[in-house]
Structures are given as structure tokens and as C-alpha cells.
């Protein structure tokens, strides 16, 4: 039977979640496969493995449990080896690399920060900061909303102003939060966010990052933040941490 792999930890990880529920329906138990001084969190792979909500959640849950007890390199969802011995072989083959990554990520977690605009607030902001726009809004309003062309002219200018704000605010957030982290990774871009950033943060600096977000939120009420963390360091397992933090 093929083997699903959740993540890789040092063999000395003090609290591997051996035996908890993993992916599959009914859930397959998590087991530990060892090799090269490392321990892989693994389990039987379901026959028809698909990225289902339930399994994504289980994958994340196993890694969160493991991460609470020590450093873990999270696998991308859906990694399947032929069997346990193939997992052990992979651990042995790349043991030094994985150990280096585990050392680099020790006591660190990923925090994902997503930012969006509050639409009404950002509209108020751009109109308030531009007298010409403001005059256009007023004149349209007096005309009962204005003609189709009036609306188009106003809307186009407002859209351009909001777009400029998106870019400026994304840079603002990045610049404000980056110094609080050991490394920064651009998270996959997705609809609706003006910024989607992942930060690698040492355990001792997590509160500092949260404070920095809170300061931003207070200072810029048109920005809406979603902070998720601590997360397994998904975005930093394959990166040169030193290179990323050094420039």
C-alpha cells in the first residue's frame, strides 16, 4: 500500500503525533517512519486521494499538532511514496539537507497576512484626497447621479485612484512588517487581496508582528487584515533562509 507523507521532523522531536487521525475517510492513523536520523509523519494513502476539504484539513491538523511540539518540515499536500521503505530511503538520501532546514526553521513559524480594502472606506479616502474627484462626485449627486457618461467618467477616475491605493498600500504593509520577520515570501496571489504575504517569525517575535499589524490597522482603517498563524513553515521549507533574510 502506498504511503502518504505529512512532514519531516528530527528523530529527536519530543512529541510526534503518532497515532492521531490523518487523512482518509474513515481516517487513517498517523505513524512515524524513521530513517537517516529523521522521522517522517506518514500514513496509509487513500486509494482515491483528492484534495478534498476534509483531507486538506487533516493534513494541516497533523502538521499543526506536530509543530506544537517541535520543528517540522511540512510536505505540500498530496505527497505519496510507494511504501514506507521508499519514505525511509528518501529521508536517508537527503538527510543532511532536511536537517539543515530543520535547524534553520527551529522555533520559527509562518504567519500569513492577507490585506484587503474596505471598499467604502477606501472610496471615501480617495475622494477626500482629491478635490477634483470630490467636485465630480458632488456635481453628479446634484444631478441625481448624473448621466451614464458622467458616471463612467467619475467611476474611471475613482477606479484608477483605488488601484493606485492598492499598490501603495501593499507596499506600505510589506515595508512595515518585513523588518519584524526573519524572511518574507509572497504567498500565491488570489482574488480579493491587495497583499498576501507570508512571514517567517521566531517564536519570540510573534507578538511583535501582531503588534505591528495592529498599529497598521489603527493607522489605516481602510485596510482589513487577516492574520493566520502560527502555521507550519510551508513557504520556507525550500528557500534559502539565510539568503532571504540577508539582503
Amino acid at each position: 500500500m502506498s504511503t502518504y507523507v505529512y512532514g519531516i521532523a528530527d528523530a529527536g522531536h519530543p512529541k510526534l503525533p503518532d497515532g492521531i487521525d490523518g487523512i482518509g475517510n474513515p481516517a487513517h492513523k498517523v505513524r512515524v517512519v524513521r530513517g537517516g536520523g529523521l522521522a517522517a509523519l506518514a500514513g496509509d494513502a487513500p486509494e482515491d486521494l483528492r484534495p478534498k476539504r476534509r483531507d486538506l484539513l487533516a493534513h494541516q491538523h497533523v502538521l499543526s499538532e506536530a509543530g506544537a511540539g517541535g520543528t517540522v518540515l511540512p510536505m505540500r499536500f498530496g505527497s505519496v511514496a510507494e511504501d514506507d521503505s521508499a519514505v525511509a530511503a528518501a529521508l536517508e538520501q537527503h538527510a543532511e539537507h532536511y536537517k539543515e532546514r530543520l535547524r534553520a526553521l527551529c522555533d520559527r513559524a509562518e504567519y500569513n497576512v492577507k490585506v484587503q480594502h474596505d471598499e467604502d472606506a477606501v472610496l471615501r479616502l480617495v475622494v477626500a484626497q482629491d478635490d477634483a474627484l470630490r467636485a465630480l462626485v458632488e456635481s453628479n449627486r446634484k444631478a441625481g447621479g448624473g448621466s451614464h457618461e458622467d458616471k463612467m467618467r467619475l467611476g474611471e477616475r475613482v477606479a484608477a485612484a483605488v488601484q493606485a491605493r492598492e499598490a501603495a498600500d501593499a507596499a506600505l504593509v510589506r515595508d512595515a512588517l518585513e523588518p519584524r520577520a526573519d524572511a518574507l515570501s509572497d504567498a500565491p496571489q488570489s482574488t480579493g487581496w491587495i497583499a498576501n504575504l507570508s512571514f517567517l517569525v521566531h517564536r519570540d517575535a510573534a507578538a511583535e508582528l501582531a503588534n505591528a499589524v495592529e498599529e497598521l490597522r489603527q493607522a489605516h482603517p481602510h485596510l482589513v487584515f487577516r492574520v493566520n498563524g502560527p502555521l507550519p513553515p510551508y513557504s520556507f521549507v525550500d528557500q534559502g533562509l539565510v539568503a532571504a533574510a540577508g539582503d
Partner: protein, 142 residues
């Protein structure tokens, strides 16, 4: 406290937090060449378009209507009222996003994922200050 911080450690992470980080679970994380990866065909988690504002007739008209509707005086003179509004929309807006990601997960469309990969590879350095605007240009050319 309107900053939504989801504590994931210790298994206390709720599902709403998961939807916010689905793209990390599916698109980041360690890959071992010797292992097979599950096919993500049919998963549309990763959309390329980060632009909230799309320059289109619909957007223009929507903004014009919104500006007409907004009480600009109140907004600029009463910051307390404004932050209250932001607080409200933070909650509901965030829920909307989470729902959007869930629906996206169930939808078909592998193109977006493939495209996202390409884009990820095209980014030489994620730290470069112009990465956002340059990736925008890539989107527009795509």
C-alpha cells in the same frame, strides 16, 4: 479586536482559518521528487488576479454609484463612525472571503493552477520591491 488571528497550533485551528491558508497547503511545502503528488486538476484555489479593482465598465458604474451613495461628509468628519464601519465589514467581509475560497476549491479549472505555477517560477526573487507590479504585468500579458 478586529484583526483576525487564527491560532493553528495545538489543533485549535478552525476551518475558517484553513480556507485562508489553503493555497499554502496546496502550493507551498516540501516536495520530494521521488514521491508522487496527487493531481490537483479540477482545483481552482489559486486565482491569478489579485486586483480587486478591475478596470471595466461595470467597476466604473459601481464606483460611481457607491460614491453617490456614500456620505462623504460624515465619513471624513467622524472617524469614529468610520472605524465602526470598518470593524463591521471586517467581520462580514472576511467570512465572504472564506466562503469564496471554499467555493473555489469545489470548482473545476486547472488552468489557473498551471498558470500560477508558471508565474511562481517566473518570479526570480520574491523580495524584489517591484515583484508585485511586475507580476501584474505578467497577468495582463497572460
Amino acid at each position: 479586536m478586529t484583526v483576525a488571528t487564527t491560532q493553528q497550533a495545538g489543533g485549535s485551528g478552525g476551518t475558517s482559518g484553513l480556507y485562508d491558508v489553503l493555497e499554502l497547503v496546496l502550493d507551498r511545502g516540501l516536495v520530494i521528487d521521488a514521491f508522487v503528488r496527487v493531481s490537483l486538476v479540477g482545483i481552482e484555489i489559486l486565482k491569478i488576479d489579485i486586483r480587486v479593482v478591475v478596470a471595466s465598465v461595470d467597476t466604473y458604474l459601481r464606483f460611481a454609484e457607491a460614491c453617490n451613495r456614500l456620505d462623504l461628509e460624515t465619513g471624513s468628519k467622524k472617524p469614529a463612525g468610520l472605524s465602526e464601519l470598518v470593524g463591521d465589514s471586517n467581520g462580514s467581509g472576511a467570512q465572504g472571503k472564506a466562503k469564496g475560497a471554499l467555493e473555489g476549491a469545489a470548482q473545476a479549472g486547472s488552468d489557473a493552477l498551471t498558470q500560477a505555477r508558471k508565474e511562481g517560477e517566473a518570479k526570480a526573487s520574491p523580495r524584489r520591491s517591484s515583484s508585485r507590479s511586475s507580476s501584474r504585468r505578467e497577468e495582463e500579458q497572460a
